[in-house]
């Protein structure tokens, strides 16, 4: 079967759905519509992936205007997997959402919440699919604006402050990105990523291009919460509604990383970005600071959502570390870790959403004895947590293995030590929760709210996926290897 317009429908389904969903006010109807739409998006992404794996790169001219003049949607081995990943997480979280949204968000805001959810999905898929630099900015802002609204809908009034802080930081990040694009546009007169990449390689005046690289790197780093630019993330994750946190933690920062990989390896190319070691070294230092610093901060948190928000910053450190190592193994590790961390953090925040609904608290002490009361959810949580540490047999182990291999290939042994140290710190903060939840007696009075079956079901499915990809490593690793081959220049494969 051949569908010509798959790249366009991938974006259009959630975009049109976001408007359609505002028609109804009944919670069950809007939830069912959102789930159906994300299911369609997911099916679309699978078809798109199949088509790419058979026919190779798809170049789709939006509106019939041929690139480089028109906007090109370009689907290749790198973004086709990530489109499947983001659609899959969106489907899981949408199915999970019904009861959680009912409890956490007031009735009149629910349709808007689902509409923002779908708009955010539209933006993220748009960034992944587009091959146009300015189009990526527009989608970045669509997803960010939808995110600010979702965060501000949290029950706690501090969610407003979190949303405001993210709005300021996010807009600065996006504006830095546009400045970078502006400099590229002045130099090349093109916005098509492929066209830009060809022109940059045949250019003599390199200085404005380097300036644009700096602006784009800083702008995207703000969005992906690279270590010193992460200050918006903990509050945003902690005070947003559970559904929003689960979705953002598993997709938003990953899509920003994709954009960084795209610019580093495709647009500017390995030679410009990693020729001198300074950018590579800078990224490595910041990644290590994130891996160790954020993990240390996570140990001392009392709010469970904040703890895993800091853990997210640490895990983003692994991904940027793999990029900075910039050899085949390192890049494979990064790409696999994008997939793995999305699954792990999705599971963890969905499980936390279940606990928070039952306990009506995010304080870690209140979680005592929760393992006996909610064994299924806690099992899912435990599996994902072990994956986060990187126990062999779970997904977390594989990506760390590849990043370590990449570091050793470069002869950077000290990196191995810092990865091990960071994993040890993860063991401490995860261990603390597991100890409290499984081995202590319950002290808190729980809510009378009953969890819905689909909440627990989806959380379990997500945790089983992490186990599955941990044991059957071929699928993700092979895909990442093909993607890394297409990103790196010949000599480094």
């Amino acid at each position: 079967m051949q569908f010509e317009h798959l790249p366009a429908t991938q974006i259009l389904i959630p975009l049109i759905g976001a408007i359609l969903i505002l028609v109804s006010r009944k919670n069950i109807v809007i939830w069912a519509t959102a789930s159906l739409l994300t299911l369609l998006t997911f099916i679309n992404s699978i078809l798109l992936y199949k088509q790419v794996s058979v026919d190779g790169v798809i170049s789709y001219a939006m509106g019939g205007w041929e690139p480089p003049i028109g906007i090109e949607y370009r689907i290749d081995s790198v973004n086709s997997i990530l489109i499947v990943l983001v659609s899959f997480m969106a489907l899981l979280v949408a199915v999970y959402a019904r009861k959680s949204v009912e409890v956490e968000i007031v009735a009149e805001k629910r349709p808007v919440f689902y509409a923002m959810y779908l708009l955010c999905l539209t933006g993220l898929l748009g960034i992944l699919a587009t091959g146009d630099a300015f189009n990526a900015f527009v989608f970045l802002e669509i997803s960010s604006l939808a995110t600010y609204v979702m965060i501000a809908m949290g029950k706690d009034k501090r969610s407003l402050i979190a949303s405001y802080q993210y709005l300021i930081m996010g807009t600065i990040g996006a504006t830095f990105y546009v400045i970078g694009i502006g400099l590229i546009f002045i130099m090349t007169g093109s916005l098509n990523l492929n066209d830009i990449s060809e022109q940059i390689n045949s250019m003599n005046t390199i200085r404005p291009i380097l300036a644009s690289l700096a602006f784009i790197t800083v702008g995207i780093s703000l969005k992906l919460a690279l270590f010193p630019l992460h200050s918006w993330l903990p509050n945003a994750y902690a005070y947003a509604p559970s559904v929003a946190t689960a979705f953002l933690a598993s997709t938003a920062t990953k899509v920003a990383v994709y954009l960084l990989i795209r610019y580093f390896f495709d647009v500017y190319g390995y030679n410009i970005v990693f020729e001198d070691y300074w950018l590579s070294m800078l990224l490595i230092i910041l990644s290590i600071a994130a891996m160790i610093g954020a993990s240390l901060v996570a140990i001392f948190q009392n709010n469970i959502k904040k703890m895993f928000a800091y853990s997210s910053i640490a895990q983003m450190g692994y991904i940027t570390l793999g990029i900075a190592i910039a050899n085949h193994s390192g890049l494979v590790g990064s790409l696999v870790h994008i997939i793995n961390h999305a699954l792990i953090k999705g599971t963890i925040f969905m499980a936390i959403g279940c606990f928070v609904m039952k306990l009506n608290s995010t304080t870690i002490e209140d979680f005592s004895g929760i393992g006996k009361k909610m064994p299924l959810t806690m099992t899912a949580f435990t599996i994902a947590s072990l994956s986060l540490i990187g126990i062999p047999g779970t997904v977390g182990f594989i990506s760390k293995w590849y990043i370590i291999t990449g570091a050793i290939e470069k002869g950077w042994w000290w990196l191995v030590i810092s990865i091990a140290l960071s994993s040890l710190l993860a063991l401490i903060y995860v261990g603390r929760i597991i100890e409290i939840a499984w081995f202590q007696e319950s002290k808190t009075k729980e809510n009378t709210v009953t969890l819905s079956r689909e909440m627990i079901g989806v959380t379990l499915i997500a945790s089983i996926t992490t186990l599955y990809f941990g044991l059957n490593t071929e699928l993700t690793v092979d895909l990442a290897k093909i993607a890394a081959d297409s990103l790196l220049p010949g000599i480094l494969r």
Binding site: F137, E141, L160, Y164, T171, I172, G182
Partner: protein, 120 residues
Amino acid sequence: MLIINQFIASYNYFIIIFLMIAGLYIVVARGNMIKKLIGLSVFQTSVYLLYISPGKIIGGTAPIINDSYTLYSNPLPHVLILTAIVVGIATLALGLSLTIRINEEFHTIEEDEIFNKEDL
């Protein structure tokens, strides 16, 4: 003389850089949430100028096919910046409405006062 000539030839970039840094400074240095948003707006506006000013060609007309004109300005930067202005307005509107909600909940829009009161 050379430096002065260069400065005059590319004075638009100096204005852009000044606005950019001024806007960013306001965002960083001010605690008042409305003032921060004003700074953000100035910062974004500087980027609009960064796109628009190289798009202007002296003596160039709008890109309409006509035998009597040979010199055209590129229309693309203007179109891009129209989009960016829409994005900027959406961001500013959302930021201001958040500030209104914050004022309702916390009875202040000074960041310091909120951070003193709340454990964030």
